[in-house]
Amino acid sequence: MPIWLEPFGANYPDLLQKFAIYGIFAIGFNILFGLTGYLSFGHAAFLGIGSYAAVWSFKLLTMNAIPAMFFAVIFAGGLAFIIGFLSLRRSGIYFSILTLAFAQMSYKLAYSVLTPLTNGETGLQLRQTDPRIIDSLFVEAGAGLPSTNLFGLKMSGYPGFYFCAVILIIGFFISMRVFRSPFGLMLKGIKSNQNRMNYTGLNTRPYMLTAFVISGMYAGLAGGLLAITDPLAGAERMQWTASGEVVLMTVLGGVGTLIGPVLGAGLIKYFENIFSAFNAHVLTEMFSFLPDAVVEVLVPIFGLFVGGGWHLTLGLLFVVVIIFLPGGLMEGFNKLFGLLRKSGAQIRGKRTPQDQPGDGG
């Protein structure tokens, strides 16, 4: 199998799960950033709290995925309400910095003061001794750790992916409805001209706060699904790099477009997987058709861009896309379709006069 197809190989549902989960994360982020233009740098906090809420649901109530998802969304929505209420007092770069500050505070708290809730550095994990009140009513606890499930269906591997994919489709549908609703129009108005909104009699704050909470809930849902497919939660999910990643995904795919953020999320997770799998050995094999001396030069150079250094490749990709396609991949597709249509029309246009009889005479 060629290396670029390997992530889709038979035994690799984990990556597919990540495509779907980060797609949900990016769709939600785009409701805030794409529609209102408010750039949050703190969405990782909601991803993190979603994961913690889901794992606690597994520990205290049941291994079923539905309550876990529910609590993930509710807790993320609550945190988003608090952070949004405080951060939306400012706009532009000040808003971004406030959200970043709140997210970093959440991250630090998860590591320190909140250790009883988050289990600090080790991360929150399932234990044999967890109460699991609801589950214990129905079944005797087995010998090993129970696994997450949806009414008996195990939520790891391909079933987990199908579950995430269904949620992704529902999430996408809801976001589409929001984009095409009067509420979405108001959010676009906020991005376009907030002054006019005010003098038109519209109170912009509750609109922005609602958008912020919705996008926080999407992030919480994504965090919950991460825990459902792999039941542990660590504070690193709240770190600013995760917030930055969702910004990259959305911008790379196309801010404010419906499908763009999903594409961006898929692309980044795909490249992360491929490039971090490369190592010097794989590179040497790839270049084996070249003379040894050349290989010895090429391998260290390319080695910088793969494995742990794959962020360098991501950075380059990002720079290229932003410079040549500021509207992201979606702009690229639109341009391409535009060109195809144009050249198609030209071909037809050229043919028409020739088809007319007597034209040359």
Binding site: R177, S181, L185, M186, K188, G189, N193, N198, Y199, N203
Partner: protein
């Protein structure tokens, strides 16, 4: 005596040491078109900013239909029926003309905030019909699917006027609605404003163009150095010696 819609009572506004408005008194009657003229820097735009809540007066009161406006937020003032056309058009540049006009229609129907994410824009046929009608009134219906940012300056002003008209305000404040327009566009705007007048909307117009003022205004007030120096019927104001001195100079 007819009903007063807008009433300014001893309004003062200072910017640092500069007195922009000093003891301005103004009474606008229901259904009339009241023009405010005056030389540059006389405080005309400041006066409108005080009316819509963009600026807070340092002293005095502004009442609209008996309700005190000072201290209210811009969106609250807009909700009770005061709309404003700005000197530089405030539109939604990256939305279509249709969306530009539909958005205020939702504001009028649903109030300052409504979480309406479940209905589709495309199924709001009533609002859409109303928006198309207004766009026809301001002569922009053909371009309704274009982005508003691509319009000429004159068309942007007409669009903004349409966005205010669909709010069906009781009081419309216009800050130089014909500035930068060609003679032809100016005339069509005058016609449009006359048409609105027949609907009984009260208007306050700030204008430099005397042609516009004298073809529209029922009453004219002259603002100079932050004070109303004359107020009355257009013909009377034109003949007032104080006004001639302060504003119209030797040309009138």
């Amino acid at each position: 005596m007819s009903n007063l819609v807008l009433h300014l009572d001893d309004v003062q506004k200072n910017f640092g040491g500069l007195r922009a408005l000093s003891d301005v008194n103004l009474a606008v009657e229901e259904g009339t078109t009241h023009a405010i003229i005056g030389p540059n820097g006389a405080g005309k735009s400041t006066l409108l900013n005080v009316c819509v809540g963009r600026l807070k007066p340092d002293a005095g009161s502004v009442t609209f239909d008996g309700q005190e406006l000072t201290g209210m937020l811009p969106h609250e003032i807009a909700q009770i029926g005061v709309a404003r056309v700005f000197q530089t058009p405030e539109i939604f540049p990256d939305m279509t003309l249709l969306e530009n006009v539909m958005l205020p229609a939702f504001s009028r129907r649903d109030g300052a905030f409504k979480f309406n994410a479940l209905s589709k824009l495309s199924s709001q046929s009533e609002i859409r019909g109303e928006a198309e009608h207004i766009l026809e009134d301001v002569g922009l219906k053909e371009q309704m699917m274009l982005e508003a940012g691509s319009l000429s300056r004159g068309d942007k002003r007409r669009l903004e006027l349409g966005m205010c008209l669909i709010l069906k305000p009781r009081l419309l404040l216009l800050d130089e609605p014909t500035a930068g327009m060609s003679r032809h566009d100016t005339n069509s705007t005058i016609d449009l404003l006359k048409k609105i007048k027949s609907r009984g909307m009260t208007k306050v117009i700030i204008e430099h163009d005397m042609h516009v003022v004298f073809s529209l205004a029922d009453k004219v007030s002259v603002l100079a150095r932050g004070q109303i120096i004359a107020s009355g019927l257009p013909e009377d104001v034109r003949e007032d010696p104080k006004v001639k001195e302060a504003y119209l100079g030797g040309t009138a």
